[in-house]
Amino acid sequence: MMDVLYFAWVRERIGIPKEKVETEAATVADLVSELVAREERYAAAFADLSALRVALDQELSGFDAPLSGVREVAFFPPMTGG
């Protein structure tokens, strides 16, 4: 069980800012596959992974990163701060 957070247009496409997900996914990419298989809105949000970034427990990470021990996963587009 982990918290999955969505920001910016990822949040808008999926329709919620946060959800709890029950998963055995080994990596971020596995988790994305599970989500995409769920519903069209997830498929739309994750259509182009090169346009997305992921953070694990609030640290930027990669889609091949393992999820073991991770409590919070966040998906969002490239950041536009400053």
Binding site: L5, F7, A8, W9, R11, A55, Q58, E59, L60, A74, F76, P77, P78, M79, T80, G81, G82
Partner: protein
């Protein structure tokens, strides 16, 4: 060092004076202030800035720590707003104090380059026609290669 992620406006002048006060060891103080720019069409109503509470503060502190390791700095300030802003509003500021101007300038530019692409903020421009997320620029990502 002070990092503030806040919805409230800040006063550039008051922050600059507070930052500069009581530090006779630094010969050089640099500030950068980012302002909400109206669009080319001149019809921006609101700039909405979303962020990732918790991660934002950690990411900015990590960037500021990195700057303090790379340059000889007496002090660093980062203020970044989120929420609804209007054209002309100040979005954020950084300030650096150092003995030498080169350190103060370079560290401020480094902070800005990293805040642009590595701090979890997302900007959305709201006009009469609706809202549009600001796309990250390739040149902002490329700016990181300099460091």
């Amino acid at each position: 060092m002070r990092v503030s992620v806040q919805e409230a406006p800040f006063d550039l002048g008051a922050e600059a004076n507070r930052f500069a006060a009581g530090d006779t060891g630094s010969g050089a103080i640099v500030t950068f202030t980012g302002v909400v720019r109206d669009l080319a069409q001149g019809n921006l109503d609101v700039m909405e800035i979303e962020h990732y509470p918790g991660m934002t503060e950690k990411a900015i502190e990590a960037i500021a720590d990195e700057a303090r390791q790379r340059w000889s700095l007496a002090d660093v300030l980062v203020i970044h707003r989120h929420g609804r802003l209007s054209p002309g509003d100040r979005i954020m500021m950084v300030a650096t104090a150092a003995r030498h101007r080169k350190d103060a300038f370079e560290a401020a530019e480094f902070l800005m380059d990293y805040l642009k692409s590595r701090a979890p903020f997302w900007k959305k421009e709201i006009t009469g026609k609706g809202g549009e997320w600001v796309a990250a620029k390739d040149e902002d990502e490329a700016a990181l290669d300099r460091w």
